[in-house]
Subunit: 478 residues, 2 copies
């Protein structure tokens, strides 16, 4: 008979005479009670083995991590905490798991570091099962939001011949050998002999290509991997991460803020609705973790409270200029507690400043906008004041920057002048400039780092724990 | 006032006193009729300009490609072919488009080659607007299918330290310089000094990592970019393409075939339902294209007929051995019309053979299974006969192979022996082997090349026309 998923058995409306379940043993107690999990839910189903009529040889093989197939009746459970259990009639060991060797032993309480080194097995724990299910549902919420609104999903290129954006250090992509590398007459690497006939890199953003599609299809979004070859060994940075980049023709910066806020609230609400059990588990995990911290460092809100807070409160919209005024006069600045003291308008904000604004001053998500032109990218629209651009960053408690976006400079002449001033090659970006040459219009977009969103929703604190196989400096195992 | 999408105006249930539309001019006839498109639909809205009361200076700027904002009444159209039109009260040119310079002039009938070189603008044509909307809806159908069934979406790594799979030539990813490359004492490149401390490549498949997640979460799928550094300049190959790879614990090869067939039928049906107008346009485009072909080379079915045929007919399941018997005795083999004559069991099938089976013999999608072990990958499950493996390929008319999959070898000893025979490093794949060390079980999966699916559904014939910015040998523009 075909096996039934544990999720479906636990949601059954009635007992059943015969069912088959397949999964992995989480624990085996008293030579009798198997807690079996198949990944369909955080909950295990209890399978009660008739140990008196089961061969010792078989009982010994029911170890943590073993794959088993169990056939029997789905009956109401005598024990607390579960509605149903399976009374085992037939048990088959599908794959053994040597208890001495299986690295993921619940009783050992493996550290997050150890689990990262075993990223292929950590997903067999409750914690990572929950994280990865939540991540998956969040992904789908992203697609659902945009598709329901008629946005077109665009797969912008991963390998890019354009390195002009300056969003960060790039990885080189090449098929050339390091030995006997083809050279031009003057001794440079001859990229004409490389696979693409030119120098290519891994994309840092699909925005520029996305803009060209928005200027044809109206509303588009990307959702794909992006890369940074930056030696940032922090709990918030990955060398390979997934980014969501909507771009909308005819949207100005206010429309852009409205879109970002509505989008974030939608995907969080969607996930709360779809993943109540996983989020409940992650909430209690976070509470446990925080018990080891000093009172002052603990979150003021539990996980679900924090998520609901984001749904129920508008994001505070604050201009960069207002933010500088607040920061200049705030106690940590006056007492020189910040590493970077804010003295003047024009300073680039560091994460300590962002955290102060979000966590101490406003105590809610904040949208900062209208930044000084010279600390932002070339494609952002210059305001009438001639010194600020229509940029926006969304800052989240505990996460920092989760969104960066802007209204784009739609005026050909202004854009070209800016590129010249920054030494950006117009020839290289001929196709980008075409969007301003032919039928240009106001348009806006933003980028949201997906893993930062997953961090926020799961209450995890290290970004390496919310992506299946993290890539960071000196680490590309698997 | 806020502008309304053209799709919503054309679907309006009533006339409206005042509306605002923004979009790009497709054509401007008789100094009076603007065909305006905003990418929300293939249909243009006709905007009727009161030319007697509009400045000549403005009328001259209403050119193909220009972005305009139009305000006026939505009224019933006098002309044929449209329900509503806009009687323009106010017209604003948002962005000019110099008619002498704008490359996409409908009257010039630009070639597909020319449009590929202008991938950033081709999406402003009806054809590419339709293709990209259909592609987007197909993507969403993929996610919907798996999410509704409780599959977990897994983002397997793009940069991979594992090069053992042998699915194809890989691109190197590096942050090392070609000049003064760090070397070890014996003169080799010292990858310990590279960003990840080891040699890394762009992934050719997320399958192996996907398997580790399936063996924890039960049912997973990937949908992400994959890469081949192969010098294949054909209409069916890309260096960068998107792949869908579901993997399911406890599924055998029959379950795998059932899943693939059900999945393909679902996403095609979903797209037929959601994109009737775009598909109708693409169907007539294909008919036009085929008019220039000799009768014998034309499709027997129109596009929608072909899509419905796939929905209404089961895929024919044929073992490799049966296929060889058919091919050996078929007229083109006997008359030596094939480039590769089929003489013996064990021959690898070429696309000419696959096309014969699908297009001439069975005239429907075909699933070939149980291939000779030595022409398939190391991880496929060996049959009891000791010479075939539980592989399957799905072949589509006009496309060839669209799916490749298998039941995986779940037996540790058999897998290790196979790897040894092929010289695949066990150390390198320690984590993959762990899935067989700890709680192994029968499991299966497949990979579907997304662009080949888009080709099939849109009726396009060159794969470069169904991805926004194609990457092929000597081509990574944009």
């Amino acid at each position: 008979m075909r096996h039934t998923r544990i999720l479906d058995l636990l949601n059954s409306t009635k007992t059943l005479q015969e069912v088959n379940v397949k999964g992995w043993v989480r624990t085996f107690r008293n030579n009798q009670f198997i807690a079996l999990n198949d990944g369909s839910t955080i909950h295990n189903i209890q399978c009660v083995v008739d140990f008196e009529n089961t061969a010792d040889e078989t009982l010994k093989r029911i170890t943590t991590g073993a794959a088993v197939s169990v056939t029997g009746a789905l009956v109401e459970s005598q024990g607390a905490g579960q509605k149903y259990e399976v009374q085992v009639v037939k048990l088959e060991i599908l794959g053994d798991s040597d208890a001495e060797k299986f690295p993921i032993q619940p009783k050992n309480k493996p550290s997050l570091d150890f689990l990262r080194e075993n990223a292929h097995l950590r997903v067999r724990t409750n914690m990572f099962g929950a994280i990865m299910r939540v991540r998956s549902v969040l992904s789908y919420a992203v697609h659902s939001y945009f598709q329901e609104k008629g946005f077109v999903y665009v797969n912008t290129p991963i390998i890019t011949g354009s390195d002009a954006e300056g969003a960060g250090e790039m990885f080189k992509v090449t098929a050339l050998p390091f030995d006997n590398t083809p050279r031009t007459e003057d001794g440079n690497v001859n990229y004409k002999e490389d696979f693409f006939g030119k120098e290519t890199n891994l994309t840092v953003s699909g925005q520029l290509e996305g803009e060209t599609f928005a200027m044809a299809l109206g509303q588009i979004y990307t959702f794909g991997p992006t890369f940074r070859a930056e030696n940032s060994n922090t709990s918030r940075h990955l060398a390979e991460f997934w980014m969501i980049e909507p771009e909308v023709a005819f949207n100005d910066l206010t429309d852009n803020m409205d879109l970002a806020e509505d989008f974030i609230q939608y995907v969080i609400k969607y996930t709360i609705d779809k993943c109540p059990d996983d989020l409940k588990f992650l909430e209690s995990r976070l509470l446990d973790e925080e018990k080891s911290k000093p009172q002052a460092e603990r979150s003021e809100m539990a996980l679900l409270e924090k998520l609901n807070f984001v749904l129920e409160n508008n994001f505070k919209r604050v201009s960069y200029t207002e933010a500088i005024d607040i920061l200049r006069d705030c106690p940590p600045n006056k007492k020189k507690k910040f590493n970077y003291i804010i003295n003047e308008w024009g300073a680039d904000l560091q994460s300590e400043h962002e955290r102060y604004l979000v966590e101490k001053h406003f105590k809610c998500p904040v949208i900062l906008f209208d930044y000084p032109a010279n600390i932002k990218a070339f494609y952002m629209r210059l305001n009438e004041d001639g010194k600020t651009v229509r940029a926006m960053d969304i800052l989240f408690p505990g996460i920092g920057e989760i969104v960066g976006g802007s209204q784009r400079e739609e005026r050909f002449d202004v854009l070209v002048e800016k590129m010249k001033a920054l030494g950006i090659d117009e020839e290289e970006l001929w196709w980008y400039l075409d969007t301003r040459r032919f039928g240009s219009a106001v348009h806006s977009g933003f980028g949201l780092g997906f893993e930062r969103l997953v961090l926020f929703v799961t209450g995890m604190t290290n970004i390496r724990d919310v992506i299946p196989f993290p890539r960071t400096p000196m680490n590309a195992e698997f």
